[in-house]
């Protein structure tokens, strides 16, 4: 008869091994390593101080020069728009005063490039004869003072019919060019502060493009026809650093038919005048091999803007643009490159957070205590990511206002360079963006550490994909430099740009000037994609290999 033997059971209660416990364990590991905590604090301090120090060196020769109230920045005349932003406001205007409400209707039968043809060095892309953003249409403007409020409906060289107002706003209408075969009928109606832009293909069936509110229009406004053609801007960088930029004034010619008015218009004749600094004053500028443009100028002028009238047909030539001004130099972006010092420290911490365990054999204890390895990696990612985010956020939140203040004191002033506050759209994006990009950089390093298991190799790999592309992007020619900033984790540094860009303004954009090919959060998404991929590979390898 066999006796039943009761197997031994421990009287101890089973420990919890949920994710919360793994997370707590990883947090304890980080918290109790004095060297790591000190390094993280150092990273936060570096993120705060390096940008401030860089801002202190940003002395440039006259970022903005103003003579008799007319200000020039980077070789272009700049006015201040209704919202305090820098604007380009120069065009040819055939106008009359309009008292009270009324409307103006025209048919544009031609819009094309005019004036001297552009002959550029072969390194620049050949410009089209008609600038895509050449504009001709109807304009209602508070006054002929550059920067005053306005609304306009227009045909463009390559972007169809647009309704634009107060410089930064752009509403798309139907596409297609204006030609003799298919004239573009446009109508702009004022009713108080409400302006309505309409367009038609035949002058009978009208479609509304946009109805907008324009603040600051007086009872009597200047209304009429305008033509503008923006400067052709091109920038390239060549091997070895250094940039070459070119800015050439262009001119467009437009034909307006069937001009008809409704409302309280004077009987007098139309007057044509240049608003702002016109094409005839602007020289073609060639800059190159010097840090900040413009440097060196080649004089080349366009024939003067003008208009001719025969019956109800106006033929007008104009140059310039009515658009926001986008500067080339972004001093705040340069300043925030100081966060690279913090980034390097964060890479070291991210890598060591796991390679340190391999070095001491601690990883075996960790995996014995928590055999589900994916969870360990996830817990580590959460801990190092959050701690880095917090450190980066604190550092950047200190760096931002002090850098802004310092740059302001050194002459980087509004309207071109805004003294952004911490809570402004740019302030929030730059500060949170810097913290986020540091956190994801730490995750990349953690993944590299898990894959390579050795600190030196992991740190070198992470620096190689995050920092080295930035080094190469200022040395290589334009195309490969842009490629690097589009497809490597360095794309995320676009979060640190402070220049606002507009779809209706074409500007030279090269990495050498801190201009990234991707929009800020898109660039960040590229870095996140790298991190996700690297962590996935790390998780698979961590599970497969013996520790």
């Amino acid at each position: 008869m066999a006796a039943t033997i009761t197997p031994y059971r421990s009287g101890q209660q089973a420990g919890h091994d949920g994710f919360a416990q793994v997370l707590r364990a990883e947090w304890t590991k980080f918290r109790t390593m004095r060297g790591w905590v000190v390094t993280m604090l150092a990273a936060a301090v570096a993120t705060a101080l390096a940008p401030i120090a860089l801002a202190g060196t940003a002395k440039s020769n006259d970022p903005m020069t103003c003579v008799h109230g007319r200000c020039q920045v980077e070789g272009s005349y700049v006015a201040t728009g209704p919202d305090g932003e820098a604007v380009t406001d120069s065009f040819y205007f055939v106008h009359q005063p309009l008292a009270g409400n009324g409307s103006l209707t025209v048919a544009i039968s031609s819009l094309h490039g005019a004036g001297a043809a552009l002959h550029l060095p072969t390194k620049f892309p050949p410009p089209s004869r008609t600038q895509p953003w050449a504009k001709a249409g109807i304009l209602i403007k508070a006054s002929t003072r550059p920067g005053s409020p306005y609304a306009a409906i227009m045909a463009t060289g390559g972007h169809g019919v647009r309704m634009q107002y107060d410089f930064t706003h752009d509403i798309a209408g139907p596409a297609g060019p204006a030609s003799a075969a298919s004239a573009r009928w446009l109508r702009l109606t004022r009713s108080g502060s409400t302006l309505t832009g309409q367009e038609s293909a035949d002058g009978r069936h009208w479609a509304t493009v946009g109805t907008v509110q324009v603040a600051g229009l007086p009872a009597t406004v200047q209304a009429g026809l305008f033509v503008a053609s923006p400067d052709y801007d091109a920038d390239t960088q060549s091997f070895g650093g250094g940039d070459q930029g070119i800015t050439v004034p262009t001119q467009a010619m437009a034909v307006f038919d069937h001009v008809s008015r409704q409302g309280n218009w004077p009987a007098g004749i139309w007057t044509g005048a240049q608003v702002g600094a016109g094409g005839q004053f602007l020289a073609q500028k060639v800059s190159g091999h010097c840090g900040t443009p413009p440097c060196g100028a080649v004089k080349k002028t366009q024939p003067p803007d003008r208009f001719a009238r025969s019956g109800g047909t106006f033929t007008m030539a104009g140059s310039g643009d009515i658009a926001p001004f986008v500067p080339i130099v972004d001093p705040l972006q340069v300043t925030f490159l100081g966060t690279l010092f913090g980034a390097i420290a964060v890479i070291a911490l991210g890598a060591v957070f796991i390679t340190g365990e391999y070095r001491r054999g601690m990883i075996r204890t960790t995996l014995a205590a928590s055999p589900r390895r994916g969870r360990v990696l996830a817990a580590k990612a959460i801990v190092i990511g959050s701690v880095t985010f917090a450190a980066g956020l604190a550092g950047a939140a200190v760096a931002f206002p002090f850098s802004v203040r310092k740059l302001h004191a050194l002459g980087w002033t509004p309207p071109v360079w805004h003294a952004w506050s911490l809570t402004s759209q740019v302030g929030v994006r730059m500060v949170i963006g810097t913290a986020a990009l540091l956190a994801v950089t730490a995750l990349l390093a953690l993944a590299a550490g898990t894959i390579l298991r050795r600190s030196a190799g992991a740190i070198t790999a992470a620096v190689g994909v995050v920092v080295v592309p930035l080094v190469l992007s200022v040395i290589l020619p334009t195309a490969p430099a842009e490629w690097l900033l589009r497809y490597t984790p360095a794309a995320a540094f676009s979060l640190q740009t402070s220049t606002l860009r507009y779809s209706q303004v074409t500007t030279g954009c090269i990495p050498y000037h801190g201009c990234y090919p991707l929009a800020p959060w898109t660039g960040f998404a590229v870095m996140c994609a790298w991190a996700v991929l690297a962590l996935a590979v790390a998780a698979v390898l961590l599970r497969r290999r013996d520790a």
């Binding site: 072969t122 340069v334 890598a351 030196a456």
Partner: protein, 257 residues
Amino acid sequence: MRHALHAEWTKLRTAPGTVWLLAASIVLTAGASALAAAIVKCPGSCTADTTKVSLTGIMLGQATVATLAVLVMSGEYSTGMIRVTLAAMPRRPALLAAKAAVLSGVVLAVGAIAVGASLLAGRLLEPGNGFTARHGFAALSLAHGPTLRAAAGSVLYLALIALLSLGAATALRDSAAAITVVLGLLYIFPVLGDVVLNPAWQHRIARWAPMNAGLAIQATRNLGTLPIGPWAGLGVLAAWTAVALLAGGLLLRLRDA
């Protein structure tokens, strides 16, 4: 000393990472150089220095050389091997000298292969990209004095980077700390150097940052407009290296292992 050299050579030869890191240095240097030679074209960059273009890879290859050099010293600290080494060889400056000698020998040999391959890639690829006699470019050749100087200087540059890293690792002992300091020193300043808004600071960084100054040795055109001359630039890097090695040597001597 001969025994010390032999011991260090054996350690370096038999460490598992060495071969991989050296191979990576050659592949990265030659690969990135070839890529640069393939994408830099005339027109577009007709003012480019073709020798410098075909040596672009040094900027990447130096990272793995630095990694290897750091591990030569910090590897001993992470495994505790350093105590055995110092017991066998109590003269600590001699130990550092032996490590430096073996490391530079290996890096010079590997650097020569990498630079040779890079120049060969440039010689083969650049004429196809418009860098021809018609635009005033001769095919790369070591018979050309400045090109020979740039090539030999690039090999020396790699050796100096290795010694700088060895010095940093000796002073800091920890591989993570040492590689972080070295890579930060090498790579952050070039990013800032080209874009800081103050020309005076641009000039300063170009003259005194180790990578910016050291790579001046690769220039073969417009030498008069360089912020720092080729040999003077390499001299600046050599000064950084000397400081790192001195600090490392001093700390090695003063501290317990």
